[in-house]
């Protein structure tokens, strides 16, 4: 009897020790996991040079205030996201390098110019996003058409920018006629209007809702995401 009891107790202890060992192994693996996670976090550094690109978007509008021909630099903001989306299939432009998005973040978060309220759902719905993209593209096409008309000599150069596609603001001091062919100036005025309008809309929704609400229906963002989705589904 005694022997039996002893062996029973021994086996019990053994099993308990085994359990403890097991949990120890589990603990070790947990600790290792957290270590790996910490390494992951350290790898992705914090402040990078591109977190200062919001300065670029202020500089852009400032330059356009003195000479409208600088508006052509805005084509960088149109082409780079497309290059990122088409060739590498990501939205790194929006995620990292977009000056406008960062300007909204800066003003909204750091300068507290935003209510921070959740925007209504329809703003980020597919219908509205693609609808706005279509509208924006139509306006872009219209701008190109105007440029063509001026180039063909059908209409004269209009030294004004159009806000919200309706309000005409005289902007003549930024251009001395004869500096370049007229169509180049016309395109500058058109592109600058487009950039200024979209930024103003962005600022309005930034104040009303969350800082980067504009990004939820930004035509460039929608387009690049669309391209990425198509690329991904292939």
């Amino acid at each position: 009897m005694k022997e039996k009891m002893e062996s029973k107790i021994e086996s019990k202890i053994e099993s308990e020790v085994k359990l403890e060992l097991k949990s120890e192994i589990e603990l070790k693996s947990e600790i290792e996991k957290t270590k790996i996670n910490k390494q992951k976090i350290n790898k992705r550094e914090k402040r990078k040079w591109y977190t200062y690109l919001w300065i670029w978007s202020i500089v852009y509008f400032a330059l356009g205030f003195f000479n409208i021909l600088f508006a052509w630099l805005g084509m960088i903001d149109f082409l780079i996201p497309l290059v990122f989306a088409i060739f590498s299939g990501n939205k790194n432009f929006c995620n990292r390098y977009c000056g406008r998005g960062q300007l909204f973040r800066k003003l909204g978060n750091d300068c507290k110019c935003s209510r921070g309220k959740k925007a209504p759902g329809w703003i980020s719905s597919k219908g509205f996003r693609y609808g706005f993209l279509a509208f924006f593209m139509t306006m872009f096409g219209n701008m190109i058409y105007q440029t063509y008309l001026v180039a063909a000599g059908a209409t004269g150069l209009r030294e004004a920018i159009k806000l919200f596609w309706t309000i005409r603001v005289p902007w003549g001091w930024t251009y001395t006629s004869g500096m370049t062919p007229d169509w180049i100036a016309q395109f500058s005025f058109g592109l600058y209007s487009l950039m200024l309008t979209s930024t103003l809309i962005g600022l309005v929704v930034m104040v009303l809702y969350r800082p980067r609400t504009w990004c939820s229906f930004c035509p460039m963002g929608t387009m690049t995401q669309g391209i990425c989705r198509i690329k991904d589904s292939r």
Binding site: N95, S124, S216
Partner: protein
Amino acid sequence: MKRYASVNPNQCVACGECAYVCPRKAVSIQKGCYAKVDDTLCVGCGLCERCCPAGCITLIDRDGCSTKGGQDTGRGHSSELCQKGIG
């Protein structure tokens, strides 16, 4: 950590704001299509939920053993944790 963040990939606009604010760098943008939260890193602080312009992030309880949140990402993570006795 009682909660973790989960992204609804259909509403996400892949703006990357959540990835920027996350103190644990738990969010990554998947091929420019949508954001994904690494829930082993997420501590459920809710910063990403408060900044998301599309409002598509929800915080999900780990302890309720509910699978309703896990279905968002199609992984049912919370139930997995429950089986392990964590959460």
